[in-house]
């Protein structure tokens, strides 16, 4: 570990940065121009030549058709951004890959090697498709291993990874296009994210926009309408220049009380314009945006039952946080607890590099690693970074042919101030020891091995290092992930907050037969993201298709679905069919939907109607929590109305914004509807209890009875707390247990046969269902069902199970649950 280097990348909307961590310090690598920040701008010329960074940024003004910037909001979409002269069109992740390649080249120039692995930061509000696109960007740039970290966590690590300060932290990250506010907590040296909030459409760009409008109006009042027709080529060019000049003035105002906005227009005689702006004027212009950002902070604090006084430290991240007006307002709110000595522009990259160190992600290529020394091979497992002063270290000796295992080992710290006791090896050649760390530094250890006579046994690699510092938990999953079932229920695989990587398998059954060898006949397993047990309320993020099965699969065939998320949130999905031994791993990721403007327009109209309906019912029923849930819906829809004309004019960013606003509005309406439906759910809870409690008591196995009791109690607690999501989860479990118990009641056979006989024409295969019914009736007539141990009852149960599988799920429910083909 001594020569390991860890790399962190901040892939920003406006600027990107790369940092290295060598186990002691994290430092930012300057680009070829000697700057720590590389503008996230790409230019492709007519011959296909690619330029990244400052040089490309200069071309934004003069050559906008071949230069692109600010595509981060489009990550995870299928929008290709055109470069006219080269006749090329690149996906957002392909553009990000160009920036990463440029950053990796800077490391090669500075450190002499091209990194093979890196941690890349993403906004806390990024969802799976955007994270997936970011990982892909890293891979396209040549990285073999990519790990993602949420930007606020990276900032907090960077600001306090060696600090002994415990308590609640707030990270306020205002970037070019997004605001992320995160609440973190350090307890016993462990850093944990409590919650985060933000605004995907609030950033420095919006402030620049306000400044541009102010400057254009001021110049027009002075008789110099410098922009003119904004739709014309000249207008667009002048607007871009004015934007650059305004941004420059805004940066100057962070240091000075006055700044000039200078603009030249070569198309006009002597066309130079100068305008002066004061810091006070800028403060007035940016006040609405600052108020919006502080409102997000207050909401986050209130939601987590914290007051500003309880926040021990506030970390400011992003260029706009350099504005004195913004710093003053945040300082007022938090009584001046701003973290000092932190560079808001490079903090994220440094934190990402530190995180790479904490997860042991070495960036050095294999060719640079030292060749293994001669001796007995030993594998040593230990934490890279830990808050524990006495962590465990586990080792295992791996003798080659002819080598013998040592008798015992001892671990010694390189500074000579600590050595452990001699520990005997287990018969499998392993040892477990506790080592002692020196506080807040890198500790290097050496394992020494001895034979029975006490002579040294040479080890091939017995040295390792552990850094004592803030320990960071595995990255938590931002939203729950599960599988939609044909009855519109969700089998949650990973709850919100599950640490990554994670892997889980659950058993399901197919709801219809699948013909062998047919590629057209696919059974769908929809993967959804969201907390609701109602599948349609969640968001479809992927679809696993079972197609081309080797043998006919009858309805009701068992399939085991495995979902696996790596540390970066990349999803791998697999379905195993035990009956045929086949495995399917054909997952297609759903991108962030980019509906056409016409679709978005229709959706806006329907959301407006839905909002009216929900609002009406909310006030009619007088449910205060529902009133609160829809408080922001009007503002979201008004914002969507404003974004619509821009989207119609071809602004991709506005189209994306429109889509997200509609999603947020519909999410709030879902929450309100769930609250309005609470009385029905409460009644359903009472009905479930009355129906299933006696059944489970009489027919359930001891394990089922035990589980049912606990589910019943958990449901009662959810009812007390009015927690609809939690209650639905426990009711689902109670129904499952109740139905399983009911199936053991001999009378259930009669009920099921009577029901099937009455609905036989609805079966997927009427002839087969009729044949099975005839067999069941014959068996009923000859066997005594009172004898529960009788073979007749078992046969009858198997026949009823077969009949049951011949009945399709409700088509309405199946359609709602993304045409799921499994139960």
């Amino acid at each position: 570990m001594g020569s390991n280097i860890h790399v962190g990348i901040d892939l920003g909307t406006s600027n990107s940065a790369i940092a290295l961590f060598d186990g002691e310090t994290a430092s930012v690598v300057a680009n070829a121009a000697g700057e720590p920040l590389t503008p996230s701008v790409v230019r492709i010329d007519a011959r296909g030549g690619r330029t990244v960074g400052r040089r490309a940024q200069r071309a934004l003004d003069g050559d906008p058709a071949n230069t692109r910037g600010e595509w981060k909001r489009l990550m995870g979409t299928a929008e290709r951004l055109p470069f006219e002269s080269a006749g090329a069109a690149l996906l957002p992740e392909e553009l990000s890959a160009e920036v990463i390649k440029s950053l990796l080249a800077d490391v090669r120039d500075a450190a002499g090697f091209t990194p093979r692995a890196a941690v890349i930061s993403t906004p806390a509000l990024f969802e799976l498709p955007q994270n997936h696109a970011t990982t892909r960007a890293g891979r396209l740039a040549g990285l073999e291993d990519v790990v993602l970290i949420q930007e606020p966590i990276a900032s907090a690590i960077s600001a306090g990874w060696r600090a002994d300060q415990e308590g609640t932290w707030l990270v306020f990250d205002l970037g070019g296009g997004t605001l992320d506010v995160s609440l973190l907590e350090t307890t016993d040296g462990r850093l944990r994210v409590l919650d985060h909030a933000g605004d995907n459409f609030l950033g420095g760009k919006d402030m620049d926009g306000a400044l541009v409008e102010w400057a254009a109006a001021a110049l027009a009042r002075r008789g110099g309408d410098v922009v003119g027709d904004r739709a014309s080529a000249r207008g667009r060019r002048m607007l871009a220049r004015l934007r650059v000049a305004c941004e420059q003035a805004k940066i100057e105002l962070s240091r000075a009380s006055h700044a000039a906005i200078s603009l030249s227009d070569s198309a006009r005689d002597g066309g130079a314009f100068d305008l002066e702006i004061t810091r006070d004027e800028l403060d007035v212009l940016t006040a609405p945006f600052i108020a919006r950002s502080l409102a997000a902070v207050r909401v986050l604090l209130a939601k987590n039952h914290r007051t500003p006084d309880e926040v021990a430290r506030v970390v400011l991240v992003g260029g706009p946080t350099l504005m004195p007006g913004l710093r003053a307002r945040i300082g007022e709110l938090f009584g001046g607890h701003l973290a000092a000595g932190v560079d808001p522009m490079t903090i994220v990259a440094r934190g990402a590099a530190l995180y790479a160190g904490s997860v042991g992600l070495d960036a050095t290529p294999a060719a640079r690693a030292p060749a293994p020394a001669a001796g007995l091979a030993v594998r040593i497992e230990h934490p890279s970074v830990t808050a524990d002063l006495e962590p465990f270290v586990v080792g295992r000796c791996l003798p080659a042919l002819g080598q013998t295992l040592p008798d015992r080992v001892r671990v010694e710290r390189d500074d000579g101030k600590w050595a452990g006791a001699e520990t005997p090896l287990s018969p499998e050649g392993s040892f477990v020891v506790q080592v002692r760390l020196d506080r807040s530094r890198r500790n290097t250890f050496r394992v020494r091995a001895f034979d029975r006579a006490g002579a040294d046994v040479k080890l091939a690699a017995g040295a390792f290092s552990i850094v004592h510092g803030v320990s960071i938990g595995d990255p938590p999953l931002a939203r729950a992930i599960g599988v939609a079932r044909a009855d519109d229920s969700t089998q949650i695989y990973f709850a919100k907050g599950t640490p990554l990587p994670a892997r889980r398998t659950f058993a399901h059954h197919t709801v219809r037969p699948i013909a062998a060898g047919s590629d057209d006949d696919a059974l769908a397993v929809p993967i959804v993201q969201g907390e609701s047990v109602r599948a349609h309320r969640n968001r479809l993020i992927g679809m696993l298709h079972l197609r081309g099965v080797a043998h006919d699969l009858p309805a009701g065939s068992r399939i085991e679905v495995t979902l696996e998320l790596d540390r970066s949130g990349q999803l791998a999905t697999r379905a195993d069919v035990p009956g045929t031994g086949q495995t399917f791993a054909d997952v297609a990721f759903v991108l962030v939907p980019t509906a056409t403007v016409e679709t978005a327009e229709r959706e806006l109209a329907s959301t407006n109607r839905r909002a009216g309906d929900v609002q009406g019912r909310t006030f009619q029923l007088g449910v205060p929590a529902a009133v609160q849930a829809i408080a922001d819906v009007s503002a979201l829809l008004a914002e969507a109305e404003r974004a619509l004309p821009l989207a119609r004019a071809g602004d991709l960013d506005a189209g994306q914004k429109l889509h997200r606003l509609l999603m947020d509005a519909n999410g709030a309406l879902d929450d309100a509807e769930a609250l309005l439906e609470w009385p029905d759910l409460d009644a359903e809870a009472r009905r479930c209890k009355m129906t299933y409690t006696p059944l489970v008591a009489q027919w359930g196995t001891p394990a089922e009875q035990q589980l049912y009791e606990q589910e019943l109690e958990a449901a009662a607690r959810a009812r007390t707390r009015n927690d609809a999501v939690e209650l639905e989860l426990h009711l689902d479990a109670m129904r499952g247990l109740g139905r399983a118990a009911y199936c053991r009641d001999p009378r259930s056979m009669t009920d099921a046969i009577d029901w099937a006989a009455a609905h036989v024409t609805e079966a997927m295969n009427v002839a087969a269902a009729t044949r099975l019914l005839d067999r069941a009736r014959a068996l009923q007539a000859h066997e005594s069902l009172v004898d529960q141990a009788g073979g007749g009852l078992r046969t009858l149960r198997a026949i009823v199970a077969e009949i049951w599988e011949l009945f399709p799920s409700s088509p309405e429910l199946q359609a709602k649950s993304f045409d799921s083909g499994i139960r």
Partner: protein, 96 residues
Amino acid sequence: MTADTDDVENLLRARLENPFLVLEVAPAAGGAEIERQGQRLLAELAAGLDGARRYPTPFGARARTAELVRAAIAELRDPARRLVHEWWAGGLEHAR
């Protein structure tokens, strides 16, 4: 009907992955003890130690993986979620 058996199986799977069971620590264990035990199990699993690969439950031994251990540590870091797991662990203890 078979789907109902799956429901029970899936439910058992979820409940028997209780973090206290996975980490083999008592519901009263302190934060530092939980972190240290979790880190120890992760190291043992990474080193391929046989003893770390299974953990006892009231319904028989189950396979223990690094993912399960990491999830268990994270669950118990959150005070609200820890309370819920303490409650379930108490119930499962009765079932022994």
